[in-house]
């Protein structure tokens, strides 16, 4: 029992370390969210509650501009759904990467799945990630998101301007840092990322889809297309091998 606990503890700690870069990346984003919410007219409690209960960066930002524009709350909820529907795809994928757990544990992990926590957990070098490790990643990310939302509302825009500008790159640097090691010597990963990046740019510049949908559709199309391509490429030599053997 004790050994089991300490194993879980070390898995959790491993997750904490992996999540640290998300914690740093969320710092400026959450701080700015807190500040903007204040200028939108939300109280400290209302603002922090949104970060506590919703925990979805992009959707929270968009809700602020919709509140300012006086949009019907129902439409704000609908918009939140559309922006976050991509997480359906991510959690379906995450399921393949995670060790089986009880349903309540999985349901708790699900609350913490954002673009960033998903990316860190799903690109882990380990074959299967434990729930304890996932909780570690999520704990740092969630903690940073909630705490810095509140701090942003309280202290406002007091970070030096040059540093705030520089820190806005943090989440993208994190995504790049997660992608590059997997790309090395793996043409499939390079293709997957390039095709979806190109599609996402096409959707952006043609204004065909809003950001939430663009990410969802680009990801899905690229994942399916490349998989079919590889299934075909791989399937060709298999009959040849079988022939030789028989």
């Amino acid at each position: 029992m004790k050994a089991g606990m300490s194993m879980k503890q070390s898995e959790f700690n491993k997750g904490l370390r992996a999540g640290l870069s998300i914690g740093i990346g969320y710092f400026p984003v959450a701080l700015t969210f807190g500040l903007l919410a204040k200028t939108t007219g939300l109280s400290l409690v209302e603002t922090t509650a949104m970060s506590i209960f919703v925990f979805a960066g992009a959707a929270q930002y968009i809700s602020l501009s919709l509140i300012t524009a006086g949009v019907d709350p129902f439409l704000i909820v609908l918009n939140t759904f559309i922006v976050n529907i991509r997480h359906f795809l991510m959690t379906a994928s995450l399921n393949e990467k995670m060790q089986p757990s009880s349903k309540p544990v999985k349901a708790a992990v699900a609350f913490g799945v954002t673009d960033e926590t998903f990316s860190v957990i799903a690109t882990s070098k380990e074959d299967k990630v434990s729930s304890a490790q996932a909780f570690g990643v999520i704990a740092v990310a969630y903690g940073s998101w909630v705490v810095f939302t509140a701090i942003g509302h309280v202290i406002g825009d007091n970070l030096p301007v040059f540093l705030q500008a520089a820190m806005s790159i943090a989440l993208y640097a994190l995504f790049i840092a997660l992608l590059v090691p997997s790309m090395k010597g793996n043409r499939k990963v390079v293709l997957l990322a390039s095709v979806s990046a190109i599609l996402s740019c096409v959707f952006y510049y043609t204004e065909l889809l809003s950001t939430g949908w663009a990410i969802l559709v680009s990801t899905l199309v690229s994942s399916v297309l490349i998989e079919l391509l590889y299934a075909k490429v791989v399937r060709v030599p298999i009959p040849a091998v079988e022939k030789e053997e028989s």
Binding site: M90, F162, A165, Y172, C201, I215, S218, E227
Partner: protein
């Protein structure tokens, strides 16, 4: 904002949580066909491509160069084999210096 805000928040929380929760609980322990498994395991890498581009170019409004320098720095540090933290902090550092002189 009052009561309407809290109802909206409840709605936002539910529509965010439910799509995150259903696949993880419903699919848990289920064996899926290999083609589906293959597609699902492709998603992390495809998602990263779509999350990075083109958004990284627009981190600073009206200054695409800022995003390009940031993305370039991050790619460079990552290709050299450094981990998450050096990439994130190094990129912030380079852009902080850049912002200081611009």
């Amino acid at each position: 904002m009052g009561t309407a805000y809290w109802w909206m928040l409840l709605g936002m929380a539910l529509v965010t949580y439910i799509p995150r929760m259903i696949p993880l609980t419903v699919l848990d322990g289920k064996k899926l066909p290999p083609l589906i498994t293959g597609i699902l395991s492709n998603i992390p890498f495809a998602v990263l491509g779509a999350l990075i581009f083109p958004a990284v170019f627009y981190v600073q409004e009206g200054n695409i160069l800022f995003g390009i320098i940031g993305a370039g720095t991050a790619f460079l540090i990552a290709i050299l084999g450094f981990g998450l933290m050096p990439v994130v902090l190094g990129t912030i550092g380079v852009l902080a210096v850049y912002s200081l002189f611009n």
